[in-house]
């Protein structure tokens, strides 16, 4: 059962402001969708670990060296910022001086 408090908690974690109508709709939607995907809780999973070559994905790493030269994109990137000042993105104060 998805409660209104659950929706509030999720919206808070996701940093999204919801209107009361949205909260109501999402409560219903999430109930129905989670109900469906919860079917996989019953899916049997083999307990043995897969063999090394079994999974088709392996990690690819690169050498930890100079991947790019600094400063080339700065102007272009800052041009898209809602608030910028010289070479900085501008945000509200994060820490309080206590």
């Amino acid at each position: 059962m998805i409660t209104e408090q659950d929706i509030d908690k999720l919206a808070n974690l996701a940093r999204i402001a919801l209107t009361p109508e949205e909260k109501q709709k999402f409560q219903k939607d999430l109930e129905s969708i989670l109900g469906y995907i919860s079917e996989l809780k019953d899916a049997p999973l083999s307990t043995e670990e897969p063999a090394a070559g079994d999974y088709y994905l392996t990690n690819v790493l690169r050498a930890d060296d100079q991947a790019f030269s600094a400063g080339e994109q700065t102007d272009k990137i800052l041009a898209e910022a809602p608030k910028a000042d010289k070479n900085f993105f501008v945000v509200k104060q994060i820490l309080n001086n206590e």
């Binding site: 999430l30 129905s32 989670l34 469906y36 996989l40 083999s46 994109q73 910022a81 509200k92």
Partner: protein, 470 residues
């Protein structure tokens, strides 16, 4: 200059005509611009037609004349899904969050296409942040099906499929995370390829679910799709999941085609099933072998896919906070800026999926949902591996139905998700799959067949596709 027959045009024919001098890149571009001027307001396939399309064409014509450009894509008109970055141009993922965002670099696929001398006609409509199966979740209105404007074009690459199906471009690029190239291609009567995961670089494409996303071509013929695929693929040094394809072995003379009959359940409409069965008869008549196969874990695909996709996309969407780019709304403090910017900029389906992703990743649920889904994913990938020990390719209908009316599923998100039943297992396994048109129903709505192959065997699925496409 005689009028260009866009309906019967292919990339190969256009290339020949341009090289012969029958028409120029500018003529071809103008022909599409003229058709766009007539049809786009009705279809809403393009969010933006690039104002400099003719300038691009003139530059390409100059480079063709000087002998600099001789490749098969020189002068070809292409449309690009609104989540693929072209430097300096607006790229919005059909969202209000990025309505004014200008790309700061070219995607690798765009770089490759620019080198070949294509002309970018415009950016195409899509479900917002690729979240949807009908392009009804766009912040800029749905895209209509060119075969019946009261119906959806499919999604999330609905605009790209509609322009190809409606002759508003010769070809297009789309993205596919759970069927977003294949399903709209099926609905619009186009060929749509989702390549092997890792075949095409995702650099410069707005990420949805990073372990599932791939970029692919939507085109009118298999030859066209193959040419585009070979152009855009390959390692680029910017996407560590992208590698060069190994050279495939020779094609068999006749194909073993696997059909997971047990998976073709009740959701499939009678006419889709009939068309599918007719396609099987067609394959048999050409001497190919149909093999009934078991893929026992496939029915968990939707749950598995949606859990993983919700989780990954909610994480990817956390970058939209109104700080470095995108819509910004002021709150009383820093954190309220996030709440308000995201609340205002993101559409309903996007918010829904972010919250679902947050749920499955949250403490207390992580193992039950996300952990379990990862385990199931491995089993589904193994189902394909085992199938391909018996057969060359696996076929199913691309979608359980033909295109549905606009508005039919918008109030029931779960119903919308269920339409993805045949396409999502492919992304989970990372294997390549193509949708090819296999006729139309009595209302003129296209059917699509999905052909899935082993990793790196796009050659196989193109070859089988050629046997059935009509």
């Amino acid at each position: 200059m005689k009028e260009i027959d866009l309906k019967n045009l292919t990339i190969a024919k256009a290339h020949e005509a341009i090289m012969r001098g029958d028409f120029s890149a500018r003529d071809l571009t103008q022909a599409y611009l003229d058709k766009i001027a007539i049809d786009n307001s009705k279809l809403n396939a393009y969010l933006e037609v690039f104002a400099d399309a003719l300038d691009q064409a003139d530059e390409v014509d100059r480079r063709i004349k000087s002998g600099e450009l001789t490749g098969p894509l020189a002068g070809i008109s292409i449309a690009i899904k609104d989540n693929i970055l072209i430097e300096g141009r607006i790229c919005s993922s059909a969202s209000k969050m990025l309505a004014d965002y200008h790309a700061t670099y070219d995607a690798s696929t765009i770089k490759k296409l620019k080198k070949e001398g294509v002309i970018f006609l415009g950016r195409t409509n899509m479900d917002e942040f690729a979240m949807g199966g009908s392009t009804e979740n766009s912040a800029y209105g749905p895209t209509c099906n060119p075969h019946d404007p009261t119906r959806v074009s499919g999604g999330s690459s609905g605009g790209s499929a509609a322009v190809v199906g409606g002759d508003l471009a010769l070809c297009a690029l789309g993205s596919d995370t759970g069927g977003s190239i294949r399903q709209p291609s099926s609905f619009c009567g186009a060929v749509g390829l989702k390549p092997t995961y890792g075949a095409v670089s995702r650099y410069g494409v707005m990420a949805m679910a990073s372990s599932l996303d791939q970029i692919g071509p939507i085109a009118k013929t298999i030859d066209d799709a193959e040419l585009l695929f070979k152009t855009i693929r390959g390692a680029d040094g910017y996407d560590s999941t992208c590698v060069d394809e190994p050279v495939p072995p020779a094609l068999p003379a006749k194909f073993k085609v696997g059909v997971p009959y047990g998976f073709l359940g009740e959701g499939v409409t009678a006419e889709v099933r009939q068309n599918f069965d007719q396609t099987i008869e067609l394959l048999k008549s050409k001497g190919h072998e149909i093999v009934s196969i078991e893929m026992p874990n496939l029915h968990y695909s939707l749950s598995c896919y949606y859990i993983l996709m919700f989780a990954e996309s909610s994480t990817n969407m956390s970058r939209f906070d109104g700080v470095r780019y995108g819509l910004h709304q002021d709150g009383k403090d820093m954190i309220e800026d996030y709440f308000l910017s995201r609340g205002a900029g993101l559409g309903k389906e996007v918010k829904r999926r972010i919250m679902l992703g947050t749920y499955v990743l949250s403490a207390g649920y992580y193992d039950a949902y996300y952990g379990k889904a990862n385990g199931l994913r491995r089993l589904i990938a193994t189902d394909y591996k085992k199938a391909f020990e018996q057969v060359d390719v696996v076929i199913t209908p691309t979608a359980p139905s033909v295109s549905f009316p606009i508005g039919k599923n918008t109030n029931d998100p779960l119903q919308m998700y269920l339409e993805d039943i045949f396409t999502v297992p492919v992304n989970l396994a990372g294997v390549p799959a193509i949708s090819v048109p296999t006729g139309k129903n009595d209302q003129g709505l296209p059917f699509g067949l999905q052909i899935t192959g082993p990793h790196w065997r796009e050659d196989l699925i193109f070859a089988v596709g050629r046997e059935v496409m009509h």
